[in-house]
């Protein structure tokens, strides 16, 4: 399997390790004792129905949320103990937009470069290089509010590369984009993984996309990991032909919208009355 190339080169190195990870909101257990390990240089897809706990996990991996219990190590750094050190080693593209519309593409990148302590004399070169990776170099001076959804996504990916992270988190990077843009974005991501050996940790609802790009898959449901392995392992285990069938077999066919929104409502209530 071609995707394991980097894994084979750096057999011992793991990029992300979580042990006994748990997050509770009062009586609600959003993430329930999860353990996983992501080898360096692989594309790892984290899949699950709405409200399964994916985003909560990503927030904990990226130091935005303190786990109730458990440990996370990223590139050998304890995320809870040294969040600032860990933050220099990963880039993240959030599920929803996180650009400043009133600034230009270049200014957004520059803002990021300063926050991440990129030396002044290196900033311009790194920003231009990252913009070239996503084919936006000719739009560097345009205000982000003039960009399409796909361009904004590409810009966010470029921005997350400016501080040269080893790990890239992508939370549903292609949601709401047209097929052309989706394909284009995955190609950029694949290229980053292949050429730089970057570890990619992604979530998506598009199973065929996960099947096309991921080396290893973990499926989460009700806050627990229900299956983990390569795509062929998952298919073999579930005796199915596609990842989507395997996913549905593992997580059931019930629509989660209602449950997810009641969980969300509960979270909202907690936020309003802390």
């Amino acid at each position: 399997m071609d995707g394991y190339r980097h894994g084979a080169e750096e057999e011992q190195r793991t990029s992300i390790v979580a042990t006994g990870l748990t997050k509770r909101y009062g009586p609600l257990v959003a993430v329930d004792n999860i353990s996983l390990s992501v080898p360096a240089g692989v594309v790892f897809a984290f899949l699950g129905p709405n409200g399964a706990g994916k985003s909560t996990c990503i927030k904990m991996f990226t130091s935005l949320l303190q786990p109730t219990a458990g440990d996370i190590t990223l590139e050998g750094i304890d995320v809870a103990k040294h969040p600032h050190r860990a933050r220099k080693h990963f880039g993240i593209v959030f599920q929803d937009q996180s650009l400043d519309d009133e600034l230009t593409a270049y200014e957004n990148m520059e803002f990021h470069a300063v926050l991440y302590g990129v030396p002044k004399q290196e900033r311009e070169r790194r920003i231009d290089k990252a913009l070239r990776v996503v084919d936006l170099e000719d739009r560097r001076k345009d205000l982000v509010k003039t960009f399409s959804g796909g361009m904004k996504r590409r810009l966010e990916i470029a921005r997350s590369l400016v501080h040269h992270p080893n790990v890239l988190f992508l939370d549903e990077p292609t949601t709401g984009l047209d097929p052309q843009t989706r394909r284009n974005i995955w190609e950029h991501i694949k290229q980053l993984n292949r050429e730089r050996g970057m570890t990619i940790f992604l979530t998506t609802h598009y199973m065929e996309e996960a099947e096309a790009i991921a080396d290893i898959i973990a499926i989460i449901d009700h806050g627990r990991i229900v299956a983990q392995g390569t795509i062929s392992e998952l298919k073999r285990r579930t005796k199915t032909k596609t990842l989507e069938e395997a996913f549905l077999k593992l997580t059931g066919k019930d629509i989660r919208e209602e449950q997810a929104s009641s969980v969300d409502r509960m979270r909202m209530r907690r936020r309003m009355h802390p």
Partner: protein, 249 residues
């Protein structure tokens, strides 16, 4: 740390400079107040033997525009949250304190700039500064008012999830702070109830100091005004930094 403070400050300035409608909109209100209240109440004020109402009112209106701009810039944190940009700053390897300070300084700078523009406009209404020193001292009070309400705005915004509470803050906080500060009326010989309330309003000391600096008509001593404002700025900055450090996405 200093880099983060600087970019947060710079961003605030760029956003302000690029939103021309906001700059112009922010000037319409002070102009209207100076024109309608200043000219409208002028004769009554003079008949009551108090002198020139416009001279009295101008520092109050400068303080008003600083109060609104600074609070608004602080509360903008909620926009950043809603439009997602807050995540980008919170996941960066810099301290929350640096982000909060940069935002406070940026919001305060924008507010002082707005105040300076109103001060310049007031020249059209016949205001003549006594000396360079009085304008410089005025700038000190303008800066203190701006810092106080920019950090106050951030403190409030840190506890809000969305803009639904904005009207509430406007009507129950910003408006009372403005109207009960002595920006529009002299503090001498007030009925007890309102007199007490004005002493509890932080803006009272800012307006009084600014008025003392610009026109020499102060109710308290300038030193008291300066001390109260400086202390309040420190307190709100500390509270703002604490609440902002507790923000969860």
């Amino acid at each position: 740390m200093s880099g983060a403070v600087y970019v947060m400050w710079l961003r605030q300035l760029k956003r302000f400079w690029r939103s021309k409608p906001r700059v112009i909109g922010g000037l319409a209100q002070p102009l209207l107040f100076l024109f309608a209240l200043g000219m409208g109440f002028g004769p009554v004020y003079a008949a009551a033997g108090q002198g020139d109402y416009l001279q009295f009112l101008i520092p109050g209106i400068i303080a008003m525009s600083i109060l609104f701009t600074a609070m608004f810039n602080g509360i903008e944190v909620i926009w950043d949250r809603q439009f997602g940009f807050l995540k980008e700053t919170l996941v960066a390897p810099v301290s929350r304190t640096a982000i909060m300070l940069g935002k406070t300084l940026g919001g305060a700078t924008v507010a002082v700039l707005q105040g300076i523009v109103v001060l310049c406009l007031s020249l059209l209404f016949g205001y003549r500064p006594a000396s360079v020193g009085s304008v410089l001292l005025g700038l000190v009070f303008m800066t203190l008012i701006a810092l106080l309400f920019a950090s106050f705005g951030i403190a409030i915004a840190s506890k809000m999830r969305d803009m639904h509470g904005f009207q509430l803050i406007m009507n129950f906080l910003i408006m009372p702070i403005f109207f009960l500060s002595g920006a529009l009326f002299p503090l001498d010989g007030l009925p007890k109830a309102i007199g007490t309330v004005t002493t509890l309003d932080p803006l009272t000391y800012g307006v009084d100091g600014l008025r003392g600096a610009l026109t020499g008509l102060n109710h308290y001593s300038l030193l008291l005004d300066l001390g109260v404002m400086a202390a309040l700025v420190i307190i709100t900055t500390l509270i703002g930094a604490y609440l902002f450090s507790k923000v969860e996405l």
